[in-house]
Symmetry: D2
């Protein structure tokens, strides 16, 4: 059976035009005005933007962290994603030190299989460098895991030292892998945290004050330099501040292949939220922390111009009246993370309505560039014949206010509670199947397929 | 009658995919795999890139200049353009001081009508500011002339002062017009020129030495500042050097709408060419001059990253054994200009083969961004249903060496004589008509239509 | 007769030490601890800084301007200067167009002779470029006028075009003259002014709003580029804003000889003052205008680090209940200028008490660097044997509040009325003569001598 | 007994003037023209610059390193220093891990006492952070050790991690100590070194190639950020490259207290020297390595403008036909270090003769700023009454060629062999005693006194 989406305005990473679009066997078959085909299911897209399904390349579903577990699993999280217009995501495998990486991959595939409602892939975190690590990474590439995350933060836990980072970058340059970095100067932050706690500064806002933006800028610049010397491309996850953006922009100007991602929380929220009375600031505790107000406008500019290429979520929800409460009286114990997988696209589209970015750049940042960077293009992220029919019909006129009660993420609050938006997904197709329609989920858990990803090809960018 | 282009790889400003494409009534009708339609003319595009026809937004055909006239008129120039894959161009109207602008428009339309083999539009040069000028410019907008060029160079001739520039920018900001600037500090250059001639330095290379890149950088930065204060978007024509690029990049970083164009001569040639023995340097005399070798790599990086958005030609040919000879013994009298309308796309594609820019960025720079900036999108510059079927089948495997004998421009030399290239246009369609095929011109003079252009819409970029 | 200054702390542009100082025949004779000399007049400087007399290199005494005349003449102005610790100044000769420069010099010498209470020199403004101008400038050098001011502001009046500026810079590079520039983009400002007046925006604050800092930054960058191409050193007068400072800093980083001056009004006042209710803003109207609050901290940093080398006053007072009133209802008619010659040193010393600059940098900025830049060193600006005994005993403990009633400038207001300061001059010597003592003027009009200045020697900086 | 230095030209960090100078009881007594005093020893300084004795704040005498020992001890090294015009130095104490810092101080005082011919102080290297470290550092301050060196290089040996660096910076900010940093990314370098050796790249030049300048720039920027967050002043030792200089300049522009030092080897030598045939490159092996040619001009500009404030030597000599030979066949085993304590001032003065820096800046960089930064001012580094009479009579006309045979350092080669210089020390006084005269050493070992240094006072800079 085929589907004919008629009368919509197609939006890609560069183009904007009126045309019909025909889906058959899960892929896009043809694009043109006045398409007709007997027997097709016809979907009227009048007044809708017809765009590629969103790809969220930074999620943490069902993840053990700081003694808790992110509240969304691959079922609830991916249903929420679909409701928000996201049709693929890439989650992070976090291996246990001393255990084989393959085991971690199996654990994560086990979490997703039978549960995921949208297509999914994995990045792998590298949390130690042993004599066998590089060999195991080679094996990962064969399994379609082609991007790897390193940490300059969390000393004693996830952090590896600059020598191991450099070795990994050299390996990646040779293999066509893409290294992602969580960039903050962990050891210096640990000293500040200790000093703050010693002084009795334990409210949620001190989470932010203990991690100054300068230390994200430093670590970002450092890893960019290491990547430059190693000749490796580099992807900065969740960039939050001007200092880091400046480092990225400077490197790009001299021609280095550096790509950055930000998240909606850094575009819309501020350190003022973390300083809300009582313990409410805990709702806004994520890492790196949300910054002072003056950073967001710079991030928007970076996004408009491409120094920030993608918008992902770092989705990692914890209940406020749940795990977050572990940190009352000690900000160090607040599980760090925010919900976001469902609201990403609507929040970024808000920037289009405010003329911060163009409509094509919106599509580019939430779908096309993620696909290209992470080896999914042109299967995903594109409205082109032959691509998977992951399609969102976006209603630019829908007016609504965000409330966690209306959202599908399994968490008891929204950081954007009460925010008024215009524009959201109307119908969502994954591989041709209608999985969400006007606020109803029509898909099913387990429909999502594992994404075996290609290696990094800079030439497609 | 319809045409079906089968088995090609479609390339747009962002996408790259295999699909067929059907043309009917001069426009693109549908895109999809395995298209079939009885009665269609079928064109096999196996091994070809199917891309939008090129748009050259900087040409000077049939232009009186420095006592000579550019050797290509709208017939020879546009035939050459078509042979090189360019299907639309925008030429510059140069009014006579003291005469109505409308008269100049009529003169230029008269030059083109019945002769142009490709579609054509006009920019207007503003060479004086009289009490009636702004009113006349308003009328131009109604005629589809929506971009206007100012000069900080050529004092006493084309230059207007910073006050008039500022007034024009304010008007443009209000009206949705786009101001283009030839940015060099004319008065300072005039002093240097006089001093050089006084010292007997009259060979062609002194044309370049009398116009240092710092003075282009200065004027570029100046006009960017004026545009910023006026709130107007700005387009820098033929940017040649690092200083100017730095000014553009800095403005873009802070969010200002500044767009830059460069030309192949600044990417491939150098001041060494102007210093060739005897009078041969005259072949390379254009304004701004071709720079020292270290500038071109910076321009390529700017092009890859978007600080330089478009590549045009400043096509303005003069015969070496003709008008150029007027300047023997006095570089001031060498008519300034190079041929280029035919070779632009092949030269820029060369940068793709050398991994300087991606294939999609190539298409973006020669077709999509020119269309978007100058009010032609999505009619032109896009492979989307509904667009004019201006299409090039690009053969990436074609090997050849450039020689003016094989080219169609009416001029007795090529600045790139002997340069080896790979890749060039195979078939070229304009509004569905095949106008060039494997080196033969199949179109006809007068086929080109006047392009009534829309006003500037930043949101489409 | 000789004078022995005992027990003070000597401060120079680099050193700070306790020593006695002996003056004889108008010059410094010896420096050392425990100096004794029978018959000397002994001055106890316990608790005082013993520093070189201040040099104000930017004053406009007895100057016709905008239909008025600056209220201080060479008598009242230099007495006020002496009371503030300034022992030399350099005033600007403003020639009449079409008249010989020598005539202008004579006019200005006539204003000063017999009246000046401190030593004085002259800069010359170049307000037109005629065939005889460069020859006349050569003659000026012989008369000890070695610095020349150009304007990119005031089109139709003082402005000369970029070609003339460039020619002058080349001449200066060859002759060892120092070019000073008032840098604002005059023609663009004229357009804004006209538009504002047309819209009925005529209050004093529109003086500032019509001259945006970006247009000072632009002109500063432009003239720096011209000076760089010409190979000439450059001195930017009254730099007021971040944009201009950035241009200076960038040039200095690449090794260009660019020097900048600011004035106390740009360090302490802000555009808020110009927006005071009623007509009071007129008290703060000067050109370039006083900027928004965020600029001053950048100027202080520039001053600490040397990108701003000197602090002068642009002293040019007009009575509020006098000439300033001409501009009620039309900001264009407010005579532009502030009083300052008397308060410069105390205001800058305030920055020492606030740890913005060091004590040695204070002396350097108000005395040593002015002397070195303008051909007076080591006769002036230094505490070294052989130098003129122009010496200030500075009392760091004096507490007081500024009021025009206590000041000696001939003007009916102070822009700093009520500001509380700590530190001021106690005793002031010029060529060994005590001219001010504890708030009493002891000198006499006509005591001041003409300063025949040397040419510019970068090596002394 | 007193000494009268007559007819010289006194040069300080800011002033240049003709005057006599009288020394009594080891200190400067008075400065003035025509000084006369019966019974004084009169020294004629006609044609000489009379300047403060040089202070070398970076030396390694008698230091065990890499299995060898620097060949100069406190006797030979300080005699050589005196012969070159250096009258004080500050050496580095390198503690043994696990042992008390006080013990290390005693060891180093033991090396110097009875041997040093010039005055000497100590910095302390912090090579580990134990629970007692900060307390021990407090004790050091009482002993007059007020500056402390940290390493981001040499992992597993001298390096401490960013957390410990940050803690130390915070302590220093609180105590008025000055932290010095050897800034290179040690862990990344270790990976490169291993890879090079694995590939058989073991010649001396690979020492340089394994330590790219980008990794010095990175570490410099990193520690500057840490110091900024900690609120501590920072001193970068032996800065060698553009990347590091850019980081310093950027920090200084925003007002951070960052000071940099370079050494003559980075101003005059290049990586070409390390690539000399055979093993000769070992003569040029020091750390950070000497850079490619394009770096030195940037360092000179930085020195002229103050982003580089001081010039020291990192004097650490090893015989070429001695310890250096340990590294034949394995660059890792070449003891890293160059001789320089004797030639520093003549080499930097060469920059004055080439117009790279002014004469006053020369004095400032080799004497005044070192004294101010390291708590010795105004006792040292100044020609002011009351200061120690550490004085050099500099002969600007002396012509000679450098050869290790004529030099007094105890090492078998000079990196500058054959270099032609103009200008050198004629007579050298320490605390009024003539210790060197026209190439003869007149002082005696043990004459040097320990310098108990004050804490850091930014206000004096």
């Amino acid at each position: 059976m085929a589907t004919l989406i008629k009368n919509g305005t197609i939006v890609t990473g560069t183009d904007l035009f009126k045309a019909d679009l025909r889906i058959k066997d899960g892929t896009i078959r043809s694009i043109g005005p006045g398409l007709e085909h007997a027997g097709d299911v016809v979907v009227d897209a009048t007044g809708r933007f017809v765009m590629p399904g969103g790809i969220d390349v930074h999620t943490h579903l069902d993840m053990p962290f700081m003694g808790a577990r992110s509240t969304d699993d691959f079922e609830t999280g991916t249903i929420a994603a679909a409701m928000g217009g996201t049709t693929s995501h890439i989650d992070f495998i976090v291996p246990v030190k001393g255990r084989p990486l393959q085991e971690a991959l199996e654990t994560w595939r086990g979490k997703a299989e039978g549960k995921a409602a949208i297509d999914y892939g994995f990045h792998l975190c590298i949390v130690e460098m042993t004599p066998s690590t590089l060999g195991e990474l080679d094996a990962m590439l064969e399994d379609g895991i082609t991007s790897f995350k390193l940490f300059t933060a969390y000393p004693g836990a996830l952090m590896i030292d600059d020598g191991a980072i450099f070795t990994t970058l050299r390996w990646a340059a040779d293999r066509g892998a893409l290294i992602q970095v969580h960039a903050e100067n962990g050891p210096a932050i640990a000293e500040i945290v200790d000093a703050m706690v010693a002084e009795g500064r334990t409210e949620p806002k001190y989470h932010g004050l203990s991690r100054p933006s300068a230390l994200e800028g430093e670590a970002t610049a450092r890893v960019i330099t290491l990547a430059g010397v190693a000749g490796a491309p580099l992807y900065i996850v969740h960039l939050t501040c001007r200092e880091a953006l400046e480092a990225v922009g400077k490197a790009r100007k001299r021609g280095q292949r550096v790509y950055a991602e930000t998240c909606p929380q850094y575009l819309y929220l501020s350190s003022d939220d973390m300083a809300r009375p009582g313990f409410e600031g805990a709702k806004y505790v994520c890492t790196p922390p949300i910054r002072d107000k003056e950073h967001a406008p710079a991030l928007w500019r970076g996004l408009a111009q491409g120094d920030i290429l993608t918008v992902a979520t770092d989705h990692c929800p914890f209940d406020y009246d749940g795990a977050k409460r572990m940190g009352e009286g000690d900000f160090r114990k607040i599980p760090s993370g925010l919900p976001g997988i469902e609201t990403r696209m609507a929040l970024l589209y808000h920037g289009v309505t405010e003329n911060r970015i163009s409509l094509t750049r919106f599509v580019d940042a939430v779908a096309t560039k993620p696909a290209k960077l992470f080896g999914l293009y042109p299967r995903k992220g594109a409205i082109v014949p032959g691509a998977d029919a992951d399609i969102v019909l976006w209603d630019p006129e829908r007016d609504y206010s965000l409330s966690h009660k209306d959202l599908h993420m399994r968490v008891d609050y929204s950081p954007y509670e009460g925010m008024t938006l215009k524009g959201g997904p109307d119908k969502v197709f994954i591989r041709g199947e209608l999985v969400a329609d006007n606020g109803r989920f029509l898909g099913k858990p387990g429909f999502g397929r594992y994404l075996h990803r290609d290696r990094f090809h800079p030439i497609e960018l």
